[in-house]
């Protein structure tokens, strides 16, 4: 297990290096000079930045400077906001996005397992049909429509009751987080429900469930001890990619609900062509996702004995 963890971490570091390089190459190809945008940069700042990032030097030198800074954990200073370090920006806005994302993945995971198991139990009966209809809706309707509808519903409920049940936008308390994270987790929940359902159905007709029946176990015990645990395995394997989907899906939700997360900040930085913020955020997100995938894999090992002992 330790060997496995170490190998996965090493792979992760190499992957992050690749992400950083790809980011550098993509940004290097952006037409124009990072400093020649319409935002006036004083000659002094310009000279400083050129010196710091080697902008007047060849690309390989720039790359080495960039990687060196990354190794030191220095993402640089924002090009558009004076004296604001990218690290500070991430430190300030990422926890917001992370909280939103964690809540969303909790909603999606619990909901997916619950609804999926339920539909499999009631296969082809009313609860199955109703839930699967909602699932298809959840997969087919874009997240921004859900976000808009969620906000609209909140506005209407608050109007109807004459007082604010839940805040319509903004951030701060747990009440601000509920609807946005639910909206954010919705499509993943739908996807996981589907996965859980088909996984459950496959296991219902598996040999070892037949064995459990032949042993005379009561259905409730077969369900909990033999079906559920095995059915969750495929759901856990897709949690890694799901976290990635939810993190990026956060952009829209942050925009619609005016949540000061890193995603909204990233979109802003792209609109202003704030080089360091764009690069820093991308590399940070990439590293975060790589770490999440590794964590999910290790978690999987805890559940499935076949992986644990490899």
């Amino acid at each position: 297990m330790w060997h496995y963890t170490a190998r996965r971490l090493l792979q992760g570091v190499i992957t992050v290096w690749f992400i950083a390089t790809a980011t550098f190459l993509a940004m290097h190809n952006v037409p124009g000079d990072p400093l020649s945008s319409d935002k006036a940069v004083t000659a002094e700042i310009r000279a400083n930045l050129e010196a710091k990032y080697g902008l007047d030097k060849p690309m390989t030198t720039q790359y080495l400077i960039y990687m060196g800074n990354l190794l030191k954990g220095d993402f640089g200073i924002s090009f558009t906001q004076k004296n604001r370090e990218v690290n500070d920006i991430i430190r300030e806005h990422f926890p917001v996005s992370a909280t939103l994302g964690i809540l969303a993945i909790v909603f999606a995971g619990l909901g997916g397992v619950l609804w999926g198991a339920l539909t499999a139990l009631y296969r082809n009966r009313l609860p199955d049909i109703v839930i699967m209809f909602l699932v298809i809706l959840g997969i087919s309707v874009p997240s921004f429509v859900f976000a808009a509808l969620g906000q609209l519903t909140l506005v209407n409920i608050n109007d109807l009751l004459g007082f604010s049940v839940l805040p319509v936008a903004g951030w701060g308390t747990i009440w601000h987080m509920l609807v946005p994270s639910l909206v954010l987790g919705l499509s993943t929940m739908a996807y996981l429900t589907r996965l859980m359902r088909s996984s459950m159905l496959e296991i219902v007709s598996s040999d070892y469930v037949r064995t459990a029946k032949a042993k005379g176990l009561p259905p409730s015990r077969i369900f909990t001890r033999h079906q559920l645990r095995n059915a969750i395995l495929p759901v856990v394997t897709v949690l890694g990619p799901s976290i990635a989907a939810i993190t990026t899906g956060g952009f829209v939700v942050e925009l619609v609900f005016a949540i000061p997360g890193l995603g909204r900040y990233f979109v802003q930085a792209v609109q202003q062509l704030d080089y360091t913020v764009i690069m820093g955020t991308t590399v940070f997100y990439g590293a975060f996702l790589v770490l999440m995938v590794i964590l999910v894999d290790l978690l999987y090992g805890l559940i499935d004995p076949r992986v644990r002992l490899e």
């Binding site: 070892y208 029946k213 032949a214 005379g216 176990l217 095995n230 499935d304 004995p305």
Partner: protein, 348 residues
Amino acid sequence: MTAPLLQVDDLRVEFDTYGGTVQAVRGISFRVDAGETLAIVGESGCGKSVTVQSLMGLTPMPPGRITSGSARLRGHEILGRTTIDGRDIRGREIGMIFQDPMTSLNPTMSIGDQIAETLEVHRGWSHKRALARAVELLDMARIPEAARRAKQYPFEFSGGMLQRAMIAMSIACEPAILIADEPTTALDVTIQAQVLDLMGDLQRDTGMAIVLITHDLGVVARMADEVVVMYAGQVAEQGTVDDVFYRSSHPYTLGLRAAMPSNDPAPAGAGEPKHRLVPIEGSPPDLFHPPKGCAYAARCPYAMKVCSEQDPAPHFQTEQHFARCWLHHPTAPRVPELFQQQRAEAGA
């Protein structure tokens, strides 16, 4: 006379599929007594697994359906029930093992837990006590280092060990009957012998009855007291193992024997000097539309006009031995292979 341990009468099972209704089992009857081994033989798809799974209530319903028949355990009907006299049928009265031990055990649960589970449910034992017994059972099933092995997971076991663990699990509650559905098909030949020996020894110790499903006549010869030869959902021939092997009276049984590899220097049945394996040409009938005559007629080398027109009735050779074949009709031509042993024995 007391009721037999298990008596099955005229069992019929159908399945609804998207292609139509399959009549998988078309009137099967047999009985088993304590300490006895009944083998049900037949090729793939002849309904032998469906028969025993229906007894255990393991056929999925729908699409499956038991259309008629009865199965009585010590005189109590078990079809469609899970308990008799408050005792669970499955796991307690009847234990069952399956063809593929690699997929028949829960991959995420330790072997010991899976065995102990049966005892916890049927006997209400504590987990600790059940687990201790599970180790004993594994030991009985000749798994070395049973205590350590009980903590392991199925993927850490070999196929033969898994099947022995399955046996340990199925006899945990000392059932009256052990149903073994092709228990050795997925195993190496050397392992097969170990598993069969284990079953035989346990039977001797506990006096349980065994219903053994197989397509391997070698296994039948080794284990069985009584044999049911199934073809296309029906019993083709039934009798004691000697009757069926040495006094085969159905052409299908003859065909099976001719197709069986053997190191017997003087093979019975085929009158050829060298023992050549003779396959049975053709394939079993479509059970969506079972033929109106004998199901074997299309493949039978002795088929007569009547065979494709009327279903033959069982013709009894002795009280326990019968074959469903028109050749035993008094007006039918005599087929020497079907009668030579009888004559030989009568002469001897």
